[in-house]
Amino acid sequence: MNLIGSALAGAAGCAGAAMTAAVAVPARTRAAAVGVLTTAAGVCGAVGGAAALSGRTFSAHLPDLLPLAGMYLGVDALSGLFIAVAGVVIAIVAGYGIGYGSHGHGPGRAASCALPVFGAAMLLVPAAASVSTFLFFWELMAVASLLLVLSEHEKRDSVREAGLWYAVMTQLGFVLILLALAWLAAASGGETFAEIRAGAPRLSPLLRGTVFVLTLAGFGSKSGIVPLHAWLPRAHPEAPSPVSALMSAVMVNLGVYGIVRVGMDLLGGGSRWWWLLAMAAGAVSAVFGILQASVAGDLKRLLAYSTTENMGLVLLGLGAAGLFRTSHQPVLAGITLAAALLHVVTHSAFKALLFCSAGSVLRATGVRDLDALGGLRSALPVTTAVFAVGALGAAALPGGAGFVSEWLLLQSLIHGLAVPGIVVSVALPIAVAAVALSAGLAVATFVKALGTGFLARPRSDSAARAVESPPAMTVAMVLLAAGSTVLAVVPGLLGSALSRAVGAVSPGGAAVSDAVARRLAVLGSTMSPLVVVAGTVAGTALVATVLRLVTASRRRAVPLWDCGAGPPSARMQYTATSFAEPLQRVFDDVLAPESDVDVTPVVESEYLVRSVSYRRMVPDRIEHRLYTPVIAAVRWVGGAARGLANGSVHRYLGYAFSSLVVLLVALAAIR
């Protein structure tokens, strides 16, 4: 067994030990024991992933672990990338969870048990090398995450609702993936990935297309791609913050992994329309996600929608990569895929950071509503600083991790002009427009989140009473912030890893990988984030020094300028809602906000107003238009079918008998 195998075994072992600890250790030290062991599992995973990225591979067949087929494991550089990202994030977030779990936020025994399982499943999904193994880990991950989402169900009703949404969506997605992969395995004559890879080129385009669409939908729902994103803005806010961080920074990545693995590797590229479909879904997700985020008032909901946006950008990149590949441009396709994968990595870094700092805020104040926060910078200095780092990344501004990956994505789209064909010339401008729109709105969104959530003065008692989180949490957040800053400043460190990961699923293999590495190096030489960031920091220091030299005197403290009318109260500040109001008005037709005005008159006369209440909400329009009718239809069918089940055993036996007869007749007719 090589390093990767030992690392994965170590990760599984640590996770198992963590589960045991969750059951055996008393509640007082449970969080610490589970956290430390899960961190160890994450570290093992990171080591294994890094080994795979350095060029090693691993494959194994463990016949005894799963009934019937046994377990097939296989790790290449692409798996390695996802395993490494998952490992690092799990290790840090599990450490964060130790702090989050203290002081009454502690998860129960079931949730403590589910956390290591969730972590290990996410590490092992990319390592699966057969359909049954993959589905096993996938479902394990889904069930464990569902348990984790539900861990605060006793505290709030909304948790149960979110859990229901998540359960239904994730299981529907699972069914789609199951159908597609089972069909694919059956048609290509074997269920290991190697057999599918060998057999897939012989399959009919219709079958391959159907499999791709089904998996795109299934994996897309896991990644929060519009219109299958409805669970995300519900489950992420309601889950405990370490869990939201893991879900949003790692689990959604695995949807991307699935699409790359199935679409590019197992099915071998496929036709143009597949990737145009992916690009369209990605573009819509990117714009819709960030638009909803820009008007969201709940901090974690905002972050969840931002995940939809970023996964949309990744899918857009994947689509473009597939498009270039079908146009026989393997190197360009490789660069674009590398850009998409880089965005996966950077998104994981800043989103884990953002969710962890949102968790720190939630822990300190108990409030997620940006309108009721504010003024946290003095009470929560570390949280504010790291949130700022994350926000810089999510806004894709220089110094932020998201900037480099979006820059690379734009570069690859710009180079797409080399690809002839009318389809490309129509698709690429639209793709760039989507990236451009989402980039602009992301800046406004994260200025809103940071500015109204953390700066100025507190707008509620809870925000005023906030205290900084314990060291376990702050250390974890600082680590994540350092990681995303390193990604933002020297992304070139990932160059060879990315090109290897791309090479693993490209038709040219090592040749493409080398070409991609060279092109990345050339591209990297035209824009150095290090120069940009260092220059800006040096410039700021220089200006500050000059200012200090020119104006030596001390600052005089004065009250805020209040137009002479007395100190402005905290209620006069701009809130998140008021900040986003112009944007909401501009995108009125897309967002369709709802407002409610209730006027209560005094008893004596209806012309004298006693109170006016005004409420404005921006519901998710897709959810409104798409899900509500479907759910209503399902309800109606359920209601209508109730008449069939009247409680009489005779009738049920009759149903069983008649369906058996129908089945037999049908069989007889077919055979």
Binding site: R556, V558, P559, W561, D562, C563, G564, A565
Partner: protein, 159 residues
């Protein structure tokens, strides 16, 4: 647009030639060349405001001497206070002065600002401006002519 352009060409310059610089040393060396003015109406009848508006209009063009009206006392060097200080405005006037960064000057514009003028002894009147905040320059007149206001500002800018 063509109408406006032909008017611009036809009218040419309307600013009157600059009168000679009033004598005396500049009041504050730091403020030479540039002075930003924030108007505070402490209870005026708005006569002085109209004249201040004229002073900054094209004909008297106080802008050419480096004076400019601004929207916040934070940006201001000079508070141009008009009217007798009413009870309601006394605190606001003090706060406005406190909000202005040093070095700063107070110009009392008009007779009312200097000695309450017509409104002296009125029930809502607290007193002249210098009973509330220290006054550096007084511009008498009811209302003062724009030339007088411009001359007072030129004593500050020294241009």
């Amino acid at each position: 647009m063509r109408a406006l352009l032909s008017k611009i060409l036809r009218v040419g310059r309307v600013a009157e030639p600059a009168p000679p610089l009033p004598g005396g040393v500049p009041l504050r060396r730091e403020l030479t060349g540039s002075v930003q003015v924030r108007c505070v109406d402490a209870g005026s009848c708005n006569g002085c405001e109209i004249e201040i508006g004229q002073a900054f209009g094209p004909v008297y063009d106080a802008d050419r001497y480096g004076a400019r009206l601004v929207a916040s006392p934070r940006h201001a060097d000079v508070l141009a206070v008009t009217g007798p200080v009413t009870r309601n405005m006394a605190t606001a006037l003090r706060r406005t002065l406190n909000a202005t960064p040093e070095p700063r000057l107070v110009v009392a514009v008009g007779d009312c600002a200097i000695d309450c003028g017509e409104f002296a002894g009125g029930p809502g009147v607290q007193g002249p401006v210098d009973s509330v905040v220290p006054v550096d320059i007084a511009v008498p007149g009811c209302p003062p002519a724009p030339e007088a206001i411009v001359a007072a500002l030129r004593r500050v800018t020294g241009r």
